[in-house]
């Protein structure tokens, strides 16, 4: 027995209303605007190339880069192939990404509590802040020899550099956020019987979160710089290692594909933080929406 529907489905409800249609078209317009500049550059670059490259072979054209990337990403290595750039892309991305994740997590674990403490306690500020400000101008590249001397050519050397790089913006922004907490929020909490630890955990930390997220975004960016630098010198895997190695063997197509890949995963990880921020700081989003 078959069931037949007596009435046709109302189509009006399924069709987008004028409002949603407008929203979708404005979205599409902004995507189109975002893609316009890179697209133009890529086309110009392609057209400027002769025999598949620019600048006397130093800069392969986009179609060559694309072809090289496809093999790097999806190629299956044959038994005789000596090229390391066949089907190893995902592996390289993962090596770098997990180092960034570890170093970044470590930087958060140290930077956020320390920043809260420095912002909250004058004593902690007097004791710790000068040291941080004095070590901060030392660039992560200057830490490379020490990192290699201590950890050798190993994973943790890279993680160590990422932690140092991401630590400063996180601790400094957290400090700023913890220092600028509205006085009346703290007074209100004290009035309601909150102790010192309650105030740190329930007032200062949430109040500092907008600043902390600013620090996280900057820190993550530096983390990606750090991972590439350390992989170029101190580790034998990951996008940074491939970048340098490909340069040595003259594979500029891989170098460029690698650079694009770094940009892409960096962009993606930042997007994740922004999504997290939007979710955690819903109250703040509404606030700026209201005013």
């Amino acid at each position: 027995m078959t069931v037949t529907t007596a009435e046709p489905r109302p189509t009006a409800a399924a069709a987008p209303t004028g409002e949603t249609a407008r929203l979708i078209s404005s979205r599409l317009r902004s995507y189109a605007a975002a893609i316009l500049l890179p697209l133009t550059l890529i086309i110009l670059w392609q057209l400027a190339g002769k025999d598949g490259s620019l600048a006397g072979g130093a800069l392969p054209t986009p179609d060559r880069v694309w072809a090289a990337w496809k093999i790097w990403a999806f190629g299956t290595p044959t038994g005789l192939s000596l090229s390391p750039y066949v089907g190893t892309w995902a592996e390289s991305v993962l090596f770098s990404a997990q180092r960034v994740a570890k170093g970044f997590a470590l930087a958060i674990l140290v930077g956020v509590p320390l920043g809260i403490l420095i912002g909250w306690s004058k004593l902690a500020q007097a004791m710790v802040d000068p040291t941080i400000q004095w070590l901060r101008p030392v660039p992560i590249t200057a830490w490379l020899p020490i990192s290699i001397a201590i950890f050798g050519i190993a994973d943790f050397g890279a993680v160590f550099l990422i932690t140092i790089g991401a630590f400063y913006p996180i601790v400094i922004n957290t400090t700023q956020g913890a220092r600028d907490v509205e006085k009346n929020w703290i007074r209100a909490a004290q009035m309601m019987g909150a102790g010192k630890l309650d105030i740190l955990r329930r007032i200062v930390l949430p109040a500092a979160l907008p600043s902390i997220f600013t620090g996280l975004r900057i820190g993550l960016g530096i983390g990606w710089t750090a991972v590439i630098v350390s992989e170029m010198v101190a580790v034998k895997s990951g996008l940074g290692y491939v970048l340098w190695d490909a340069y040595y063997v003259g594979r500029m197509d891989i170098v460029i594909a690698d650079m694009v890949s770094i940009g892409l995963v960096g962009f993606l990880s930042d997007w994740l933080i922004v999504r997290l921020e939007m979710w955690v700081l819903k109250w703040r989003r509404l606030q700026s929406f209201n005013s």
Binding site: R187, M191, G193, W283
Partner: protein, 252 residues
């Protein structure tokens, strides 16, 4: 015997040679009394409240609450701030139960009470709302509810309705009259609004600035329970005329 006693209290900001915000204030508030502190801005009335709340230390004199010297803020003195000062990342419900929670009160004890108080202040449908989603008047209702839920021995209100529009202010005054009628808590209410002071208080203490002093202490003998209708009675106007004359004299 007053529960709140200011004995020759002075407050100077910025060390010796600084600004003298309060000068030698002697002042008592009795158990269950509603006292309004009236004066122009900058006369030190908020300073007086902050000392009582324990937010700031006094420079000279003795300040006691229930016979004990005040050293820090605490839930026995519930403060209602001018701009409510709610925690913006917490919902209305979480703001209201913040006090009981940090004091370690079991949920079973505070839950019913918080629910009841939110209903009294007319926010039973807004438990999950965030402060930014509320109007100024509703936010201040939360500010009052989070204090009432702690059952404080005294309420310290620092121009709580000063930032609200005239209409909302009237409905908040009505609400406060109703709540106070039920609870009869000791209240110190800081305001610069003469009508508000007379309508709400048992005593209106007039303050003058530079140096901050209480110059007159006027008992408001209007019968209780009061309502917004009292604002237009002849007796009310008489008190108002008296206080206005007093404030003009102080402003010379």
């Amino acid at each position: 015997m007053g529960t709140i006693t200011f004995n020759a209290v002075s407050k100077t900001y910025g060390g010796a040679g600084g600004v003298r915000a309060l000068d030698n204030v002697d002042f008592q508030i009795g158990e269950g009394e509603f006292v309004a502190l009236l004066g122009p801005s900058g006369c030190g009335k908020s300073t007086l409240l902050n000392l009582l709340a324990g937010f700031e230390p006094l420079s000279e004199g003795v300040l006691t609450f229930d016979g004990r010297t005040i050293s820090k803020p605490g839930p026995d003195r519930g403060v209602v701030f001018q701009e409510a000062a709610l925690l913006p990342w917490l919902s209305v419900w979480e703001n209201v139960v913040f006090g009981p929670k940090v004091q370690g009160t079991p949920r079973a004890v505070y839950e019913a009470k918080a629910r009841e108080i939110l209903t009294i202040v007319g926010l039973e449908k807004f438990h999950e709302a965030l402060p930014v989603q509320l109007s100024g008047g509703m936010r201040q209702r939360v500010g009052i509810a989070r204090v009432l839920v702690m059952e404080p021995r005294a309420l310290l209100m620092d121009e709580p309705f000063g930032a609200l529009d005239a209409q909302t202010r009237l409905s908040m005054q009505q609400l406060l009259l109703e709540v106070w009628q039920r609870l009869k808590t000791t209240v110190l209410f800081v305001t610069h609004d003469i009508d508000e002071a007379i309508l709400l208080a048992d005593r209106v203490c007039v303050m003058t600035a530079r140096p901050g002093r209480i110059t007159r202490d006027i008992p408001i003998t209007l019968p209780r329970p009061r309502s917004l209708d009292d604002l237009t009675t002849a007796d009310f106007t008489r008190f108002k005329a008296m206080i206005m004359a007093e404030m003009r004299a102080g402003a010379h």
